[in-house]
């Protein structure tokens, strides 16, 4: 169990870092921002899930991920608006707005799946 968690941690961290490095090297900033929504966690998780539980199980995760991505879109749009139009601190705004992601993702799940 610990070995599996450690493997997840290392693979997830590595994939996220690769996309972050790529994003930090690109200009303009709006283009680099695309990499803030790179499928880094999904690449790592789906790989490990297919190896452990099989493709059909991972496909169900991928289907739910569509709703998570819609919630991410709403979250990022809100954060963009708040930072550009209001004088709010960056870390607090981006962190507190995660509640919006959770609300949207679970709300969409209840409406469309649950």
């Amino acid at each position: 169990m610990i070995n599996e968690l450690l493997l997840r941690f290392v693979i997830g961290g590595a994939v996220v870092s690769v996309f972050a490095i790529l994003g930090s090297a690109l200009k303009p900033k709006s283009f680099a921002g695309l990499f803030g929504a790179a499928p880094s966690v999904a690449l790592a998780t789906l790989t490990l899930t297919v190896m452990k539980k099989g493709a059909p199980y991972a496909a169900i995760e991928a289907r739910s991920m569509i709703l998570g991505a819609v919630a991410f879109f709403l979250y990022a749009s809100l954060v963009c608006y708040l930072l550009m139009r209001r004088k709010l601190p960056v870390l607090a705004t981006t962190a507190v707005s995660l509640i919006v992601w959770i609300g949207c993702a679970l709300g969409l799940w209840v409406i469309l799946v649950g």
């Binding site: 968690l5 997840r8 941690f9 997830g12 961290g13 590595a14 994939v15 996220v16 870092s17 972050a20 490095i21 930090s24 090297a25 690109l26 200009k27 900033k29 709006s30 680099a32 695309l34 990499f35 803030g36 929504a37 790179a38 499928p39 880094s40 966690v41 999904a42 690449l43 790592a44 789906l46 790989t47 899930t49 297919v50 190896m51 493709a55 199980y57 496909a59 169900i60 995760e61 991928a62 739910s64 991920m65 569509i66 709703l67 998570g68 991505a69 991410f72 979250y75 990022a76 954060v79 963009c80 930072l83 550009m84 960056v90 870390l91 981006t94 995660l98 992601w101 993702a105 679970l106």
Partner: protein, 143 residues
């Protein structure tokens, strides 16, 4: 029409501190572990939502704002406002990237049961890249 050229600036990779890479690595690792634990506890339907959880985003946006603040401090510009603006632009880019993320998930969902893992992930990553760049390009042309 305003033309924006995409550039690869290798120098900015060297300018980034190791602690910043470490922060992203740790956050990325934690989110991947949490996504797995949530799927184990609540099943793949709920667990799948967290494959698009933006937990790394606050750390990344803060680092971008800090970088911009440091740069403007040298030039004497309004550092807090510029830092916030840079993070806002990054968030706008991420919103466009989310369209690609939806495409990635849709391709993975439909293709995973039929093709090999590496083929599926390669196809899904291409879908993310094409959609994200296409949306960014359209946004540049429209505004």
């Amino acid at each position: 029409m305003r033309v924006m050229i995409v550039k690869l600036n290798v120098e900015s990779i060297r300018e980034t501190k190791w602690s910043e890479y470490a922060t992203r690595f740790v956050f990325g690792g934690i989110v991947t572990v949490l996504a797995g634990l949530i799927a184990d506890r609540f099943g793949p339907v709920v667990g799948g939502l967290f494959l698009a959880f933006p937990a790394i985003f606050p750390a990344g946006a803060s680092l971008i704002a800090e970088h911009e603040t440091d740069k403007k401090e040298k030039t004497g510009a309004n550092r807090t406002r510029r830092g916030r603006h840079a993070a806002g632009v990054d968030a706008g880019g991420a919103a466009m990237g989310c369209v690609g993320l939806m495409a990635f998930a849709a391709v993975a969902w439909r293709v995973l049961p039929r093709f090999a893992l590496w083929e599926t992930l390669a196809l899904a990553t291409v879908a993310w890249t094409v959609l994200a760049i296409m949306v960014w390009f359209i946004r540049q042309r429209v505004l």
